[in-house]
Symmetry: C2
Subunit: 241 residues, 2 copies
């Protein structure tokens, strides 16, 4: 099995959550069946959202340093356990000579698996992830190299300010029920506008919406990345390495 | 802050549990306040219990290889997130030139903090951990270099076979309630024989006994190690590095 390198620490709990999802996706009867991982959980990386807004230092050099820790520790490939940090994905991939799996690719592939081709996907994510185009601009290709077609539905600015961001902040503060109520309202807005599925593109959102039924599939991007990483380590079903 | 190296993967869930406890013990208002960690969670290490019984390969060379991954990735010190794997602690410490924190030291210090000097400690652990002397033979010294006196109470062979091991196996199989009932019975035997506190020297046991009241303090060795590791990273309260 290939050694999965996890560029984590952004934040540390999201890293633990991702590792738990990797373990849950691994068919294992004993310790030795689980996939090998090396993890960098070094949280002293400048804030990604502030950097995106032009209000803080770039996290790139710290992320590169931590990616290199994974390379020397024997990682055969690397994933990043933070949506916003994927804004620097291409620059990291250029600097380390290892395959990487992108969280948006994993989320879109999972969405197509659940709802079929050419879906209309509602996106719940932070203001910075939405505004950066991280999801909506990503070109995902299928095994034949053709671009996978998806259409996106985003929350309005009012919905972001009144439901999505307060919902995420409530979860971060441990107020899960309050966050759940707000995020369900945001999700229902996207559903009413015709979304076939909701992509949860922020690590906090699945914590509140896990097991919730909004009547359409919920795609946990972190979980999709974990599942794809397990498949990659076990050497099947992954292209473009 | 010093970079904590975690020699994990034995098993992977215990590694995630330890990381969660590290995060819980860290006073943090934002990501950047958390301690930096690098983790090797590579489960392809020969079974420690089988090796102890002379029925399987030694895990030492695999553990050494993984400890070296941590060293090259920038760890300033190392902990091992498996009780039984501590049987090879001294050999690992000799091979890597880094300070290490021993889980038994952490557990004993926490027990003394909770119940005072010269305690009579009940020990709940696997058959292999009990039989190896990992806990009962460990010499723990205080800041003045004097040996800390502790006395131990162990479960009888019948209690090990009827309560402790079936309890641990029930937890491993996800039957928490069944495991809880068995482990409470084992704990009560030790309490009735006069234990001042119970040391939970196996990662599965705290999962079933968390929050249980047996009328005496329960010392979760993994949690004690996590707390001590956080203090070490933040550079206070640790001797002998």
């Amino acid at each position: 099995m290939r050694v999965l390198g996890i560029l984590g620490g952004m934040g540390p709990l999201a890293t633990v959550d991702f590792m738990s999802k990797v373990i849950a996706h691994t068919p294992a009867k004993q310790d030795q069946d689980h996939i090998p991982m090396v993890i960098s959980s070094i949280p002293q990386v400048p804030d990604r959202t502030l950097a995106f807004r032009g209000e803080g230092d770039s996290p790139l050099s710290a992320m590169l340093e931590n990616a290199k820790r994974l390379a020397v520790a024997g990682a055969d490939g690397v994933v990043i356990t933070c949506n916003t940090a994927h804004l620097w994905f291409d620059e990291i991939q250029k600097s380390i000579n290892l395959p990487m799996i992108h969280i948006v690719d994993a989320a879109i592939e999972k969405a197509i698996e659940k709802v079929g081709a050419n879906p209309l996907l509602g996106l719940l994510a932070t203001d910075a992830t939405l505004a950066s185009g991280l999801y909506i601009n990503r070109e995902v290709k299928n095994l034949s190299g053709e671009r996978i077609q998806v259409r996106w539905l985003l929350p309005t600015a009012v919905e972001v300010n009144e439901f999505v961001m307060p919902g995420i902040l409530a979860v971060k503060a441990g107020k899960i029920e309050e966050g759940q109520e707000l995020l369900i309202r945001a999700g229902n807005c996207l559903k009413q506008r015709g979304a076939n599925a909701l992509v949860l593109g922020c690590t906090e959102i699945p914590i509140a919406l896990a097991g919730e039924s909004l009547g359409i599939p919920l795609i946990d991007a972190t979980d999709a990345l974990a599942e794809k990483a397990v498949a990659w380590s076990r050497c099947y079903g992954i292209r473009n390495e």
